[in-house]
């Protein structure tokens, strides 16, 4: 197999820029077209509810398939093998949950945001304030993670300086959302999803040609290069409770992401809403299977050494594979697709954040639910601008920071603050305003605090320096020990007793050093299991302690709407 070390990744790439400009021109033209159709709040937030189930399926997939999942999972598979595959499965399994529990009632009961559903029979102001807090924090954290990733990836692929990349992404995303609202955002999402699925499919076909379209051959060669360990579960899941906790956050977090939930209002009815989940799940599942193939293909055809020399995390596995198989042209195309992917995801997030701000916080809380359409659209646009500029500034501020934990935190908050309140408001008659508010804030605070006290933040970030110092000391100690044994061997006076004495000394020192390692206050990397449980528990307890007769009476009427869509927004 060819193991090219020559790559143009990281340099200015005119082909990539050309493809990217083509994408930008097309999407800006669509935005211009959409701007003329964006007058009312229904247009701005929900694309006039004119999107079909199939289109929305693509747009949902577009919202969900971030550059991090495309480049990151391929990279993880190429460097960690089977463990990367395990990770990719976790990202899909939330979708069926959305379909079975959320999609239809959400569409039937709400108007523009998921807070509409929670507030349907409860008191508007406290619910809207809490739900907006949950939405905005989820969106903001996810946005920071995406922006920092965007700057880093674009720098790698296009050779553009980090800050310039962030500003380009920020400016384009503001343009799409500000002028074209949901109509433009949806079509950007659809185009991106088609490009990404098409590009990944082509890359897989080119890869499989090399192996005579035989997965057996691909895996045989992977085994030859990296031993059979590469195709077995390794160290990713060591603590079952942690794995379970991550699984919960991924599953129910997906069903609590505001930018995903918002998409269900762009289709005409509940039937199209559930159809769109079926398509989205198919596209996303197909995409992850492709990504895994790309990861293994890159490990064999590009080689781990080359992949990791370009980027330690393996993020360039996909682009490198494209370069080996399709030359500069394909690399340029795929880089542009990755750029477009980032752009589409941050646009969706910005729109969701702006909606939470204008629809829930401004109209729902500040104006007590009374505001005309024009005013609401204007506030949403101001929020878009504010959010976009904040995203640019935060992206620059967090340059070079380890923000990977923010993605985990986003899902943990979505699963703990947004999902329980949404779910209980749909199914439980006795759910009260106080219960909902308590549930949302509990999920929000517990998820955030536990992440801060967890190994990922408390040890790796807050005490990262101390951890590194001790790690180097342990390494030095090991080298010293090996050196000593080697020396004794040379001198010829090496006996079993000496070795075991030395070893005991070494182990004791190592143990002492290890005990000085900073320890997490909360042992799990993923707080989902506790924060979700707490949110449900508090929501239930507080609801049982309070009583809301109005809300209970309204539940029966709500049931008719939940199940049959009578009176649903059209």
């Amino acid at each position: 197999m060819q193991q090219t070390t020559q790559t143009i990744i990281g340099q200015f790439n005119p082909t990539a820029v050309m493809f990217f400009l083509l994408f930008v021109i097309t999407t800006l033209a669509i935005t211009y077209w959409a701007a003329k159709r964006t007058r009312t709040t229904k247009d701005f937030y929900a694309a006039g509810r004119s999107i079909t189930g199939f289109q929305n399926g693509l747009a949902l997939a577009g919202d969900y398939m971030s550059a991090a999942s495309f480049l990151g999972i391929a990279g993880l598979v190429s460097t960690k093998g089977y463990d990367g595959l395990i990770y990719s499965v976790g990202w899909l399994v939330g979708w069926p949950i959305i379909m079975f529990l959320i999609s239809e009632p959400l569409r039937n009961l709400g108007k523009y945001t998921f807070a509409d559903v929670v507030a349907y029979r409860l008191k508007q102001r406290p619910i809207r304030a809490a739900a907006a807090a949950g939405s905005l924090i989820t969106v903001l954290f996810y946005l920071i993670a995406q922006m920092v990733g965007a700057g880093t990836l674009i720098k790698l692929m296009f050779g553009l300086p980090y800050e310039i990349a962030i500003i380009i992404v920020g400016a384009l995303m503001i343009a799409y959302v500000l002028f074209g609202g949901m109509i433009a955002t949806t079509w950007v999402q659809i185009i991106k999803a088609i490009l990404l699925l098409g590009g990944a499919t082509l890359l897989v076909i080119l890869t499989m040609i090399q192996f005579g379209f035989s997965y057996g051959e691909l895996f045989n060669q992977a085994e030859k290069l990296y031993t059979s360990k590469f195709l077995e579960p390794g160290g990713l899941i060591t603590n079952p409770i942690d794995a379970f906790s991550l699984g919960l956050a991924l599953m129910f977090g997906t069903a609590g992401l505001p930018h995903i939930l918002m998409r269900f209002y762009t289709v005409p009815d509940a039937k199209e809403a559930r159809k769109s989940v079926f398509y989205a799940t198919g596209f996303i599942g197909y995409f992850y299977i492709l990504t895994v193939t790309i990861g293994f293909g890159a490990a064999v055809l590009v080689g781990q050494k080359v992949i990791m020399s370009i980027d330690k995390g393996g993020n360039m596995a996909g682009p490198l594979l494209a370069e080996v198989l399709g030359g500069n042209l394909f690399l340029g195309f795929l880089s542009a697709v990755a750029f477009a992917t980032i752009l589409a995801v941050v646009s969706g997030l910005t729109l969701a954040g702006a909606s939470a701000f204008s629809h829930d916080l401004y109209v729902g809380v500040i104006r007590h639910g009374v505001a005309d359409e024009k005013e609401e659209v204007r506030i949403a646009k101001i929020a878009t601008l504010g959010l976009g500029i904040s995203a640019i500034l935060l992206g620059i501020l967090f340059k070079g920071q380890n923000v990977a934990f923010l993605v985990g935190l986003t899902f943990a908050i979505a699963a703990s603050a947004n999902f329980p309140a949404l779910f209980m408001s749909i199914v439980w008659k006795r759910f009260t305003t106080k219960g909902a508010v308590a549930s949302i804030y509990t999920g929000l605070f517990i998820a955030t605090i536990l992440i801060i006290l967890s190994p990922t933040v408390w040890v790796d970030i807050i005490h990262g320096k101390e951890k590194k110092v001790i790690e180097t000391q342990i390494k030095d100690l090991e080298t010293q020990f090996n050196q000593k044994i080697e020396d004794l061997k040379q001198k010829g006076n090496l006996t079993e007793t000496i070795i075991s004495e030395e070893k005991i000394q070494f182990e004791a020192k190592k143990k002492e050093l290890t005990s000085q390692m900073p320890k997490p206050i909360f042992p799990l990397k993923n707080p989902g299991i506790y924060s979700m449980a707490a949110s449900f528990l508090i929501g239930i307890l507080v609801s049982l302690m309070t009583r809301e007769k109005d809300a209970e009476a309204k539940f029966e009427e709500e049931k008719i709407r939940t199940y049959m869509g009578i009176g649903a927004e059209s």
Binding site: G90, G282, E556
Partner: protein, 102 residues
């Protein structure tokens, strides 16, 4: 008052009761199946690594098709729900809507 009665009529309607009961049941069953599917996979990784590491053909380990099948079955479950909703649920909803004339 008339509206209130209308609501109660629908709530007491046998077809409405059937459709809400069926919808709840299938949602719960499919959700539980999805949970078993995914957390079963995670449990296998946590507690039975040797099984997943077993070679089934050449270098391919059993873990690889199991992971891919977890993805595919998740999608099939959404397909089952669609099939059920299109052929049962929508029909009942239409029937109840016709009864109440709207």
């Amino acid at each position: 008052m008339r509206k209130k009665k209308g609501i109660n009529d629908i709530l007491e309607d046998d077809d409405f009761k059937t459709l809400s009961r069926q919808k709840n049941r299938i949602s719960i069953i499919l959700t539980i199946l999805e949970l078993i599917l995914y957390f079963g996979f995670i449990a296998l990784i946590a507690f039975n690594k040797p099984l997943l590491s077993k070679k089934i053909s050449g270098a391919i380990t059993l873990g690889i098709p199991i992971a891919i099948l977890t993805i595919i079955f998740s999608w099939i479950l959404t397909g089952i729900y669609i099939k059920w909703a299109n052929s049962n649920y929508d029909v009942l909803v239409k029937k109840v809507k016709e009864k109440i004339g709207g």
